[in-house]
């Protein structure tokens, strides 16, 4: 039993060992990136969830003016990656927007 364990243990690190080496590989490719660094000089500002900042516990579907910044011109719900809303608030937000749409406070699709 003990022998098996001993034999297995070296085996596991063995395949694992090349991986760390492989890891630096792409990392090594990245140092090839430094010339690109000039191009990516702009720093993306970290988006913060608007509802978390204001400490909102409940998103009211009746307040269309609160929800309207989170829909596109054509009426689509903006994704999280655009608005920076956190997962939890986005979940509440989609529900609120869909309710507001049902009672004609927000459009399903903008009319032409």
């Amino acid at each position: 039993m003990a022998e098996e364990n001993v034999t297995r243990q070296p085996e596991q690190p063995a395949p694992a060992a090349p991986r760390p080496q492989g890891g630096p590989g792409p990392g090594g490719a990245r140092p090839g990136g430094p010339p690109k660094r000039g191009k990516r000089s702009f720093v993306r500002k970290k988006k913060v969830c608007r509802f978390c900042v204001e400490k909102v516990d409940f998103i009211d579907y009746k307040k269309a003016e609160v929800l309207s910044p989170f829909i596109q011109e054509r009426g689509k719900i903006l994704p999280r990656r655009m608005t920076g809303t956190c997962a939890r608030h986005q979940r509440w937000l989609t529900v609120a927007i869909k309710r507001a749409q049902n009672i004609a406070l927000l459009p399903f699709a903008a009319e032409l």
Partner: protein, 142 residues
């Protein structure tokens, strides 16, 4: 059973005279009373522009109601009445008590955390003020 809370919103045609709307509201209140529910408050939001056309209408008279009931039968009855009544072009009932409960819970959590926090932040606040004091001293020296 625990009491449930519903939001009931309906939209009337914009050309509905005011007394007719009041009549709808009173019939709904009566129907709710019969079923053992209570309408806590009624708000007339008035004429509002709708986000899209409903029955070829661009505007509607919004009425909001806050309904308390211990069972969902009332909602069925009220929605049936709204469906039947001619001036009503759209209605929506939403159960909100669970969300309100969640809100209350989160608020409680936040308050508790806020009550606990000052002790932690106090030393943190002390340090920057000391640093600022040092900065002032430096400025005074220069």
């Amino acid at each position: 059973m625990e009491e449930r809370q519903y939001d009931l919103i309906f939209i009337c045609r914009p050309d509905t005279p005011e007394p007719d709307i009041d009549k709808i509201i009173s019939t709904l209140e009566h129907a709710a009373g019969e079923k053992g529910a209570k309408i806590e408050k009624t708000e007339k939001w008035g004429r509002k522009r709708m986000a899209y056309r409903v029955h070829k209408l661009r505007e509607g008279v919004y009425v909001y109601m806050d309904l308390r009931s211990s069972h969902g039968e009332v909602v069925k009855e009220l929605e049936r009445r709204l469906k039947v009544s001619d001036p009503v072009i759209k209605y929506l009932t939403v159960r909100v008590d669970e969300e309100l409960k969640r809100q209350a819970k989160l608020k409680r959590h936040r308050e508790r955390r806020a009550a606990r926090r000052p002790r932690k932040t106090a030393p943190g606040q002390g340090a920057p003020s000391g640093a600022a004091g040092g900065g002032e001293r430096a400025a005074a020296q220069s």
